[in-house]
Amino acid sequence: MSTTTQQLQISFTLNAQPVDETVAANENLRDLLRRLGMFSVKFGSSDGITGAAAVLVDGELASADIILAAQIDGHEVITVESLNTERDLHPIQAAFTAVGAFQSGYSAGAMILGTKALLEANPNPSEAEIRDMLSGILDRETAYVKPIEAVKRAAAVMRGESVDAFGPIVLKPMTDGTNAVAYDPASPAPEGSEAIPRLVPSIDVPDMAVVGKPEVKVDAVKLAKGNPAFTDDIELRGMLYARLLTSPHAHATIVDIDDAEALALPGVQAVMHYKNTPRIKYASGGQSWPNPHPHDQVSFDDKVRHVGDRVAVVAADTPEIAEAACELIKVTYEVLPAIFDEGDAMVDGAPVIHDEEDTAEIFDRDRNIVHQIKAERGDVDAAFAEALGGGAASKLYEQTFRVHQVQQCPIEPHISIAWLDADERLVIRTATQVPFHTRRMVAPLLGMDIKDIRVIKPRIGGGFGAKQEMLIEDIVGHLAIATRRPVRLELTRSEEFRSSRTRHPQTITYRTAVDADNTLVAQEMYVIGNTGPYGTHGYTVQTVTGLRGLTSYNAASKRFHCDVVYTNIPVPGAYRGYGAPQAEFALEAHMEDIAIDRGLDPIEFKRLNWVKVGSDLDIAPHLGERSVEEGELEEYPKVMTSGIEECVAQAQREIGWHRREDPAWVAPADRPNIRRGIGFAFCMHGTAIPFLDMGGCSIKLNDDGSFNMLVGATDLGTGADTVLGQIAAEVLGVALDDIKVYSSDTDMTPFDTGAYASSTTYISGTAAMQAAEVVRERLKERAAMLLEIEIPCTIELRDGRAFAPDGRSVSLEDIALDSLHWQDQEQIMGTSSYVSPECPPPFAAQFAEIEVDVETGQVTVTKLVMAVDCGVAINPITASGQVEGGMAQALGYAHCEEFAFDETGKLLNDEFGPYKIYRADEMPAMIVYLVQTMEDSGPFGAKAVAEIPKDGVAPAIRNAILQATGVAINDLPFTPERVHAALTAHQA
């Protein structure tokens, strides 16, 4: 505790300046540096393994988390702030921004400092040396592809060499856009850095000034400089530190809580738990109103349902006091039997997880079935009966797959800070993907009106769905109201694993009837979805599983049925892909095995059956909260654009598909224990949720002809602010730098449902385009006044000017000054919002090249190639970054990430390392192709790109293992012992 902690006087050099400070013996260097205003130094974990707090200590890169401040006495420390001596960027910072190396930029300071140290020691490092330097900085976003390119570029610049502008390699199409072409093994793949996307343009897409260009991100400078932009980068006088007390039991009733000793501890300001917080039911998933039932949570309950569940929270003057107070809270539990497996949960006599009376709309409470979902078209049973009877449908295939629980792992954990402002309104500054949902959802829990709450989303250090949740905002709200002081709560890394959100485990069974001519006749998917102890996203995620699992391939009859069950595992929620990666793994494995059984090339069999332009999206209307019956629908939505054949052709060439048939390549003579394989997966995703996802945008003209653009969309690092700015800039005929984007603040910006469902570019982008169009029309009218033109619509905006047909022009600055100050004064501005009736699917071809050590079971992934039809990539650099980062996450899902529990439900690997995510020095090669199609319903032809890279990696690896070894593995991940066991069983 602070009262007994030794205080020491230390002297050290910080960014070339002498510093004398008093520090506590337990203060670490990270906290000291942040206390001194070095906000580039970030918290990722206490054990230093994320590297987000890495700084240079005596010239060497080191994690400040695991260095005591006292150890620094007499040493030299450098942070990225040392480079911020002027407005311009240091060459290293400039290189990182030029190649789009930052997504959230949460670990930007560490990467730049590592580069600085590396280049000072070695001006011309090899790629292996660069990867080694980055090995200590975990990045969940970029797959390290563009950071590595940035280091190479910085090295070249600092050696005095010239560098090319960073942009895509533009390729000629290999197909006519519709039909497949024969694979040519002799055709070489284009050469170039893997960081550079390969762009295959479409003749349907016009050349544009800003859209489609590799613009530098609008937020690049603040990220490169490590400026205070994130939730935690503010200082509030009198702030309290909150600490959670969580459950050690998977399932227990809280008989009593005694907080007297905790409250008596000096410095403790509040302790909250079920006895002193109102019991108001809610569902925490960040979804549109009305949130799907059941509303099975309260802020603090008298029952805990998983290890890590909330029990109480303390707010205290210091983190140490808060932590000590948690240990003084006496909780009396009555431990109950627990269940973890989704199949076991439905067995008669299983423990009932929600036996409370005030949770309504649980489908079958006694069997822990929270939802039962059904959707069908055609006559599946008849088709199956015919197949079994040897009729026209020649064969019925059935397989079961198990997909596991993983975590999103944003390097910035959940963090929220709340305070009462001068008007006594509650301000919540929080790392969220859904600020507007959060405001609406938290209000009733706090007994406040929505109008009295302001939610600010600052810069976010990654979310991937984990922050599509009202997770801890109610806690800081309760505490700020109770104490009338600012309150900060940040989850530890362990809490992030145990107490935030994860991906739903599922058991998936496919049954597919295939005709004699290899055509799918009927397909059925049965899913048992494990939603853990709370419903949250449980209904919608499993719905998407059904949607994705039954949309990719045509079949006359289809059926989805699903039991969503409660268990006592840490809570699943939204995770990038949202039910699709689970479905795609099972589907693409199932289709692969059918093809092999029928002696067909997997791509040919899948191609025969996959949806094409004009195909009905025929299960979609029957799923979801607004589903309809078959007879209610006049016409199914259809696929309007698909670049899948071009994707397959390009990616097949890149991966060298023919090698999988070469025995000398598959079984290299000099490595007898190695078998190589190449696998393929067809990917199809969605673009936003039709009739539901809505985005808003407001744009106003400034005196100098620039614009402020306010968007409710939530940039988590995805590049959304940049993409939306590019769309507006294209419409308004200005450079991207003339669009100043601000997102998102519930007091300031228009409503947006939030960053999820691959919706931002398509939905919020259309809103931005429309708002810009409103402004553009008014600018034309004002320009017509100044140019004395009678027909404003003949005026064209470009290069920051308004041009008359006769070539005369007036600058937007002149229009602004005239309209704001001179005649018929007005604020030129436009506002628009958009909700789409469409959900145009992006398509992709995913290939994986792997090696299997057949003696140990170790799988090594050597190359991933994804060719994506995302319509028109508004920014090919940020789009390719999304694909790279998505593939890296999907690689972890397939290969090494998993939750491991003991028999009591305690998570055994609640830290990085035991929970393994990929680092820079072990990544496979990655190549991204962007295949353009012109999606007329999207802004400038755009479809989605953010989630589809999550879909194909696992099945492509699985199919590659199968091709290499003959062994089909139907559960994830492909860890060495699992693969070894499968190989051993196969040999037996």
Binding site: N28, P319, T860, L908
Partner: protein, 253 residues
């Protein structure tokens, strides 16, 4: 401030080994080398740390046929010092990522391996570097002037108040490593470090016991009773022990 602060309540920085020894006799005193383990520990509170950075233990010395590595030599120094056998330097580089190996030390690695402070949650030693020291005939030097073979230290355990000052190794021979992990840079489930000198082959394994272990190269799984964890069952670890030993030994030839 980040959550879960380090648990040190007092900090000392002695200037001499004798002073450090004296300080370490105090209650709840813990030697602090690089800090990658002690400062990351959130479980064992109430400690007072004795920082070893000012003791002059960060040197590497080649003497006769031995190489003496000071306890405070960092793994990054080990990885780039040309006097260190190349294979052992590579093991040091692979032991920890870039932001940690600049702080982690030789002495800390040995101490952690010997006291199970650096093992996984299931109590399985996984320091390949410690196994490398074993394979290189490591002899640990203590502050009281005594020394003992590293294998003996692992067998007897390390008293928290015992101060390691150096380890000496035999740098000769050909060394090779074989390992299996979930990913290429993962902490191996099992790793074998083999060192061949003339007709003699020495093999040390990780992932098969509570500390790195020397095994019979001809029958590496004999007598092994590995614990299980979610990355590998006991049976699987035994299988890997045999396979990886054969590979590592073969690679030294």
């Amino acid at each position: 401030m980040g959550p879960s602060l380090p648990l040190a309540s007092a900090y000392y920085r002695p200037g001499a080994v004798a002073e450090a020894q004296q300080l370490l006799t105090g209650e709840n005193r813990v030697a602090l080398a690089g800090g990658t383990i002690v400062n990351a520990d959130r479980e064992h509170g109430g400690i007072e740390v004795v920082d070893l950075q000012a003791l002059g233990l960060a040197t590497i010395a080649a003497e006769a046929d031995r190489l003496t590595l000071g306890a405070m030599v960092t793994l990054s120094t080990l990885a780039r010092d040309e006097r260190v056998p190349e294979a052992l330097g590579a093991i040091a580089r692979a032991e920890l990522p870039s932001t940690m190996r600049t702080r982690a030390t030789v002495g800390g690695t040995i101490a952690a391996a010997a006291t199970s402070a650096g093992v996984t949650t299931m109590g399985i030693a996984d320091s390949v570097l410690a196994a490398g020291f074993l394979a290189h005939d490591g002899v640990v030097h203590l502050a009281d002037g005594s020394s003992l073979p590293l294998a003996q230290l692992f067998a007897s355990g390390l008293n928290a108040r015992t101060l390691i000052t150096a380890i000496s190794i035999d740098p000769s021979g050909v060394t090779a490593t074989a390992s299996t992990g979930r990913t290429p840079a993962d902490v191996p489930i099992v790793a074998a470090v083999a060192r061949s000198t003339g007709d003699t082959v020495t093999v040390a394994l990780t992932g098969v016991a509570a500390t790195p272990a020397l095994v019979d190269p001809d029958d590496p799984a004999a007598g092994l009773e590995p614990p299980s964890d979610f990355r590998g069952s006991a049976d699987y670890r035994r299988t890997l022990a045999a396979t990886l030993t054969n590979r590592a030994v073969e690679a030294t030839r």
